[in-house]
Subunit: 227 residues, 2 copies
DNA sequence: CACGAAGCGGAGCAAGCGCTCCGGATAAGG
DNA sequence: CCTTATCCGGAGCGCTTGCTCCGCTTCGTG
């Protein structure tokens, strides 16, 4: 299974929002000047607590969440939160990057486990919809893919889907003309279905998934897909 | 085509939010008391202007819209707006009822035009996704169907879908086990797909629709739907 | 231990929202 | 035409939300 690992390119560095250091804009590396002291232990601890709490809340409520709620849950004041992440958007970005990467990694593992390309595709959707469709902020962001430039994590996920698509296509199992974008859009659509039926009719989305997957099969369709 | 017409039950009375008249709670018809004068002409005009503007804005931006924007677009002050519709929710409700009914009526017409049950089903989805999936407030509300009690207009629409489902099923064209709820959920899912791809990739949802419809066909599926 | 840079907390600001209030305008009955 | 019930407009209140400010605390170092 020669899926390129997109995560290996981006090391587990603490994302981009660590501390821009405004002075570094003019002097990229002020070698002779006063050296910045290493971050304090409590600061690092708080940073992780904030990310953890934010991830939970963003998953539950989406990006519309109140920043105060994140501060409360991480046991940290507003000042602390905003020193680590100067804009709400920075925090959201950091969390999404992390969670998308986790998802992509898990998806790649699942996809490569299966011998049969069709089983791999099925397993991917099953896992995605069971595990990540409930993450409101992630699904929100995935829907924005068509409107703007992708988050790095989305690109990683796309690669996995692309690979699944190619494999099933090469094996002659996938309906001709189906693209990666089609599968991505299907994922977002079904993700929405999961969110709205999850609490009242858990499992109903499974029927839709089954229907859609059968529509994706290579056999038994009267006419080709429209352009 | 014996589809029961749900609109015939609810006459085109000016909805429920006309003017509750708090006193009427205790005295339903105070015959002897001072008779309420008929509403003034400008009041009626403004009411229609508000509903019209609200419909436009709700379609564009969904229920999260600012009430001031509605007032601005209808050329009316806040006071006027809130006298006609004491709560934002009342206005939204009125508009949704109107637009859902329009939709249901159009859908019923389209569905009954087609001789072939499958053509009817296809035409229904095509029309719904082309014409109404862009109405953000309507799609929002449709998604809430699973979480709470239905709006009257949603019930009307459900009846149409139910009829389409029954017809296709009786003709042996629909995959066994497919329910009205499945079709409704599919509609909401695809509606979401339309909204997110509409501006950047118009027409991509057509491929998803095609795939889903083929998955709904009675023939060529390896296994029955899950419970 | 003592000191200061780094970090902390939360009151508070500005903007946006739903909704109210009330002085002034006006349509309709006499 | 006059009177008045009815209606109009928009300033403004109370609340939420993103974000800032600044006095106080704490960690790490010499």
């Amino acid at each position: 299974m020669a899926v390129p690992d997109p995560a290996s390119a981006t090391h587990p560095q603490p994302a981009s929002a660590t501390r821009p250091d405004p002075a570094s804009a003019t002097r990229p590396q002020p070698k002779g000047t006063t050296r910045r002291r290493a971050p304090r232990a409590d600061a690092l601890r708080n940073r992780e607590a904030i990310i953890q709490a934010a991830a939970e809340v963003l998953a539950e409520q989406g990006t519309a969440v109140d920043v105060r709620e994140i501060a409360r849950r991480s046991g940290v004041g507003m000042g602390t939160l905003y020193r680590h992440f100067p804009k709400k958007e920075d925090l959201v970005h950091t969390v999404l990057l992390r969670d998308f990467s986790t998802w992509a990694r898990a998806a790649r593992a699942t996809a490569c486990d299966a011998e049969d390309p069709w089983t791999a595709l099925t397993a991917f959707f099953q896992q995605a919809l069971t595990g990540y469709a409930r993450h409101r902020a992630i699904m929100e962001n995935l829907a924005l893919t068509w409107a703007g430039p992708d988050l790095e994590g989305v690109r990683q996920l796309r690669l996995v889907i692309e690979h699944l698509c190619d494999r099933a296509c090469a094996a002659g199992l996938l309906r001709p003309g189906v693209t990666t974008d089609d599968l991505l859009l299907l994922l977002v659509s079904l993700g929405h279905a999961v969110q709205i039926t999850d609490e009242c009719r858990p499992g109903q989305w499974n029927r839709l998934l089954c229907i859609s997957l059968d529509g994706l099969r290579a056999t038994g369709h009267p006419q080709p897909l429209p352009a």
